[in-house]
Structures are given as structure tokens and as C-alpha cells.
């Protein structure tokens, strides 16, 4: 277990180019980012600044065109897709703006899915899923399908799912983007609580108030480059 304050993620000259016909789009253009264990990091920037791409690179969901990405000092930019899936499953949890729950699975099954994919045994899965539902106040929604619960509840299911395998890092892409202010605040309180418990949170947002209120470090991206880094004293 890493101690709070040690570096857990590092992007070194990470670059992601997309080909759109003849044109090469530089979504992320040689960025350096360093994230410490236990940090609450916000990645901010206008639309098209490359913040979501940066998050995908941090989360090993996307492969860099150039540069290196280190997770716990291991260069994951060299890994194959199936190994990256393992990395994601064990070390990283994702929360999306659109919640991205599987509509045909119940609340409980959605939360359990990452554990199933890591072949955890049934008893342990059951024990963990009960804990997570309690933590996210979802016990009464256990057998509901995503379409049967509110947006705020869906996002809480997504949060529970993101920490199902107890990852070191939770990546949240505009987690409150689809929620009203009050529900959004509640979701942020849950994320903040996770951070207090020691989880590293990386959040993409375009809301400066959220970043100001919760983040220790804010990376400002413009045109795929890091323009500014601001740190809050704890």
C-alpha cells in the first residue's frame, strides 16, 4: 500500500493524435502530469482542450501516440490491450457523466460486475457489494434496474462500481454534469468522502467552483497542453 503523498501516476510528454481524414488532430500534445497518492486532482479546460483524452490516458483506456504513462512506476504505455484491461480492473475506477450503467443488470449486479471480471469468489463479492450498497445508501434499490432509479442514484451506483475492486485511483469525467445542483453536491460529497478515506481522485470538470471547492491540484488544459497548475494548501 502506498502512502499518501507518494507519486502514483505520471504522464511524461503524453501525446494523443487523431486522424480525421487528412487532418491530424492533436487532442493532447505532450503533457506532463504528476499525481500523488491521496490527491484530489481536477483537470479543467474549455471544450476541446483535451481534458477527457487526458483522463482516458491516465486511466489506460486509451493508448498514447507518444510519451509515457506510469502507474505506480510501471510504464503502462507499453502494455497490450488485455493487460491494460487488467490494470483498469484492478487499479482504476471510472465514473462517467452519462453514468454508463449496464441497463440489463440490476443495481447489485452492476456494482458486482468489476469484481466478477476480476474473478473474485462469490462470498467475497457478496460481502463487498453489501458494504458498497450500504455506503452509497442503495440497499433498497438492490434489485432495481438503472431505468427504475433517479440520476443521482445511478451516479451513486457508478461510484460504488468504480470502487468495487478497491482501486487506488478513481477517475471521474464530469460526474455532476448530468445532475441538478443538489444531487450533484451529494455525489461530490461521496467522492470527497472517498478521497478522505485515501482514494486518489482525478476529476474532469469545466466547473471552476467544483474544482476550487474539492481539488488539491488543478491542471488547466488549453489546446491539448497544460497551461497552468494550481495547488491548494491542505
Amino acid at each position: 500500500m502506498k502512502k499518501r503523498g507518494e507519486e502514483i501516476i505520471r504522464l511524461e510528454g503524453a501525446t494523443k493524435y487523431y486522424h480525421m481524414g487528412e487532418v491530424i488532430v492533436k487532442a493532447v500534445d505532450g503533457i506532463d502530469i504528476s499525481i500523488n497518492k491521496g490527491d484530489f486532482v481536477a483537470v479543467m479546460g474549455p471544450s476541446g482542450s483535451g481534458k477527457s483524452t487526458a483522463m482516458n490516458l491516465i486511466g489506460s483506456l486509451d493508448m498514447a501516440t507518444k510519451g509515457h504513462i506510469f502507474l505506480d512506476k510501471e510504464d503502462i504505455s507499453l502494455l497490450e490491450e488485455s493487460d491494460l484491461a487488467q490494470v483498469r480492473g484492478k487499479h482504476i475506477g471510472f465514473i462517467f457523466q452519462q453514468f454508463n450503467l449496464i441497463p440489463t443488470l440490476t443495481v447489485k449486479e452492476n456494482i458486482m460486475l468489476p469484481m466478477t471480471l476480476q474473478n473474485l469468489d462469490a462470498d467475497e463479492r457478496e460481502e463487498r457489494v453489501q458494504d458498497l450498497m450500504k455506503k452509497m445508501e442503495l440497499q433498497e434499490r438492490e434489485d432495481h434496474y438503472p431505468s427504475q432509479i433517479s440520476g443521482g442514484q445511478q451516479q451513486r451506483v457508478a461510484i460504488a462500481r468504480s470502487i468495487a475492486n478497491d482501486p487506488e485511483v478513481v477517475l471521474a469525467d464530469e460526474p455532476t454534469g448530468n445532475l441538478d445542483t443538489k444531487t450533484g453536491e451529494r455525489v461530490m460529497d461521496f467522492l470527497n468522502k472517498l478521497n478522505k478515506e485515501g482514494k486518489t481522485i482525478v476529476m474532469v470538470t469545466h466547473d471552476p467552483d467544483l474544482a476550487k471547492k474539492y481539488a488539491d491540484v488543478v491542471y488547466w488544459l488549453v489546446d491539448g497542453k497544460v497551461k497552468k497548475i494550481t495547488r491548494k494548501k491542505r
Binding site: 486509451d62 483498469r88 460486475l113 471480471l117 462500481r161
Partner: protein, 401 residues
């Protein structure tokens, strides 16, 4: 192995797309039913041929006319001398001449036409050859006079005559009365089961010809050297009938060889029918592949989610392969059940109509094989869509609406 949860997820997806799943299952199902029915009848025919060609027929040799269907040419005549020359061939053990004539049979004011077969009751090689015995009454014996044996169907109401014939009933053959002393076991085809058998002496007397020519010769021979025996017998008979080689009006064939000929014809027919059924399976596998491709396209985002939370390509592959295989499995199970019901019913109807030899046979391997084949059809059809699913880029998939 695929996890229980993935199985659950797959099944729920199939259930959510009930109508499409049903149509896909139905297309494989139709192919499996067809294959099951054809194979069960084919297997039944092979079994029938095997039963007919039992141990008592393996040593039999036949002399028949080259013309006429199945050697049933009443104008073809074999003399007593021919029989003697044939019997003298080395390797021929017992031989006997058989008569057959087309006759009018009358019973209870109804008349039909069938064959009257005369044989020597001391040498019932014709019965041994076709492996049939007496089902009721007794066998003919020499000096039986106007006593006859009837084929199986005469004792069944409406098969030949509207009224069933019983032991000791009298029937008319070409206007003369004969007494029924027994019935043969069922052969399973209407022609054989409607024949009438008589002792050779009585046949000669009936036709008023002491030198009545034979139509067939049946013999038992040395099985260890059958080919040579057949060749030698041909030579003896050619000489006896004063014919040149290549201009024979007869052929000598071992019963085994004759049955092999039927088996070959049967193989060709069964193979051809199965080929047609396989074409229907090919069409249903294209249909299944189409269903699965659509299913993958509809679930691009879900595939992205599964990958983003740690699902490996192999897991995604297994999910879709399982779905298509499961469609095949359901189609297979229903296919064999319905196929079995249709074949059994069809066989029963054919049996009632006197075509007992066309009775389906249901070995366990047929059930298991058809289900496995359906699963395989589903699985093979699902491979390409499943590979497509693994190739989906998670980032693009998550953006997909």
C-alpha cells in the same frame, strides 16, 4: 470458462430481444428438425437393411433375370437342367428353384393381383434369405396340396381386403380355392407383404406342368470364397443355357452383394437429402450471424463499459459466443423434440399403410449429435460478430450513442 454473471447478462440480453431471438432460434430449429427427420428415417432404413441381411442370408446366392424390376420377370425361365448344372458348381452347397407367377386373388367378393411364389418346403432358402418366419399358423410342408401361406398384410383389415383373412379361411387363386394355413412375419413393404406362398409340388399341379420352369434359383454357398463361387456358377449356367460370355440373360449375385448395392443407393439418397438440409442450416447460420452482428452494434456502448471496468477481450468474446451458441442450443433441443415427434408420427402412419420398412430409428447419438450440431452452428455463426465485439475501442464505444 464463462462466469455465471456473464451467462446471466447474455441470457437477459436474449430475453430483452425476444422476437429477434425467437426468429433466429426458429431458423436453426427448422434446419435441425429437417436433419433429424431425414437421419432418423435414413437410420431406420440402414437398420432394416441390416436386419434383412442377417446371418441366415449371408451365404445366399441368387440367380435372377437380367430384365424386369428386381428380377421379377415371369418370362425368364430356368430349367431343371439349368438348376442341376448350377448345383454342380464347386462351392454351391444347397440350391433350389423358385417359381413365381402373377395371379388373381379373390376373397369375400374382392379381387387383387399379386405374386404366387412356389418353393420346396424342404429347402426354404427364400425365407432364410429374407430373414422372415411364420407369424401365425404353420410352415408349408411337401404334399400340402391346396394349402397356402399368406404375406403378413392379409390378416390386417383394409390393408389388402376389407375383411381380414384368418387361418383356415379359403381364398381363390385364379378362380380355384385354397386354404390358408399360416401367415408370414411382416417384411415392411406392401409388395412383399401381399405375396402368397405355395409348395412347389402344388404349384406344378396347379399349373398342370410337371416341368414348370423356375424363375429364380436360390442357393447357399461357401462364404469364404464367395466371389469365385459366383463366377464359377455364372460359367456353369452360361454353359447350361448355351450363352456366350457377356450375352447372359441372367445374373448371379450373392445376397450380401445385392444388399450392398441397396446400401450404396441408400447412401447416395441419404447424403443428397442431408446436403439439402445442410443448405438450410447454412442459411440459418447466416441469419444467426446477422442477428449477432446487429446485437454487437446495439451494445457497442455496453461493450465499452465492460472494457472500461476491466473486461478483457476474451471475456467480451465469450459473452457473444455464448449468446449465439445458446440460441443454437435452444434450437437444437426444440428441434430434436419436434423432429422426434414428427418422425415417430410419420413412421406410425407409414406403418399403418404397410410401409413398415420406412420406420424411423432413434439412436441416442442422433439426439445428442443434432443438439451439438445446432450449438456448433450457433457458435460458428457467432465467431465473427464476437471478434468484432472485441475489436471495439473502449473510448469510441463510450462516446457512442
Amino acid at each position: 470458462m464463462i462466469s455465471k454473471e456473464s451467462v446471466n447478462y447474455s441470457l437477459r440480453n436474449l430475453k430483452n430481444r425476444k422476437f429477434r431471438s425467437f426468429l433466429t432460434i426458429f431458423s436453426i430449429f427448422a434446419g435441425i428438425v429437417t436433419i433429424f427427420i431425414f437421419i432418423s428415417f435414413g437410420a431406420g432404413l440402414y437398420k432394416y437393411v441390416d436386419e434383412v441381411a442377417g446371418s441366415s442370408s449371408a451365404d445366399k446366392v441368387l440367380v435372377m433375370s437380367k430384365g424386369g424390376f428386381g428380377g421379377l420377370d415371369t418370362s425368364f425361365e430356368l430349367t431343371e437342367d439349368n438348376l442341376k448344372d448350377f448345383a454342380g458348381t464347386p462351392g454351391i452347397y444347397v440350391s433350389t428353384g423358385v417359381y413365381f407367377r402373377s395371379v388373381e386373388i379373390g376373397f369375400n367378393d374382392q379381387t387383387i393381383y399379386s405374386f404366387l411364389i412356389g418353393f420346396d418346403p424342404q429347402k426354404p432358402l427364400i425365407m432364410e434369405m429374407s430373414n422372415i418366419g411364420i407369424s401365425k399358423g404353420r410352415m408349408l410342408s411337401s404334399g400340402d396340396g391346396r394349402d397356402i401361406l399368406l404375406g403378413y398384410n392379409y390378416q390386417i383389415k383394409d390393408r389388402i381386403f376389407s375383411k381380414p383373412i384368418d387361418l383356415n379361411n379359403n381364398i381363390e387363386i385364379n378362380g380355384e380355392e385354397f386354404r390358408v394355413i399360416g401367415f408370414l412375419e411382416e417384411v415392411g413393404n406392401p409388395q412383399d407383404d401381399s405375396q402368397v406362398y405355395i409348395a412347389d409340388d402344388a404349384m406344378k399341379e396347379f399349373y398342370g406342368d410337371e416341368n414348370l420352369p423356375y424363375n429364380w434359383i436360390i442357393a447357399s454357398a461357401d462364404t469364404s470364397n464367395m466371389d469365385q463361387v459366383v463366377k464359377n456358377a455364372e460359367k456353369s449356367l452360361r454353359k447350361s443355357r448355351g450363352l456366350e460370355e457377356g450375352k447372359e440373360d441372367f445374373f448371379v449375385q450373392s445376397f450380401t452383394e445385392l444388399m450392398e448395392g441397396y446400401s450404396t443407393a441408400l447412401n447416395v439418397i441419404v447424403a443428397f437429402i442431408i446436403l439439402i438440409a445442410l443448405i438450410s442450416i447454412l442459411v440459418s447460420s447466416i441469419n444467426t450471424a446477422n442477428t449477432m452482428i446487429t446485437s454487437v452494434l446495439e451494445r457497442v456502448k455496453e461493450i465499452g463499459i465492460i472494457k472500461s471496468i476491466g473486461g478483457k477481450n476474451s471475456e467480451v468474446f465469450k459473452i457473444f459466443l455464448f449468446e449465439s451458441s445458446f440460441l443454437g442450443f435452444v434450437a437444437g433441443v426444440f428441434g430434436v423434440v419436434v423432429g422426434w415427434a414428427v418422425s415417430a408420427l410419420g413412421g406410425e402412419i407409414l406403418n399403418q399403410l404397410g410401409y413398415g420398412f420406412l420406420s424411423p430409428y432413434f439412436p441416442l447419438e442422433l439426439f445428442i449429435g443434432c443438439i451439438l450440431f445446432a450449438v456448433l452452428t450457433g457458435a460458428v455463426s457467432g465467431v465473427i460478430p464476437a471478434i468484432n465485439a472485441t475489436k471495439i475501442n473502449p473510448v469510441e464505444a463510450l462516446r457512442y450513442e
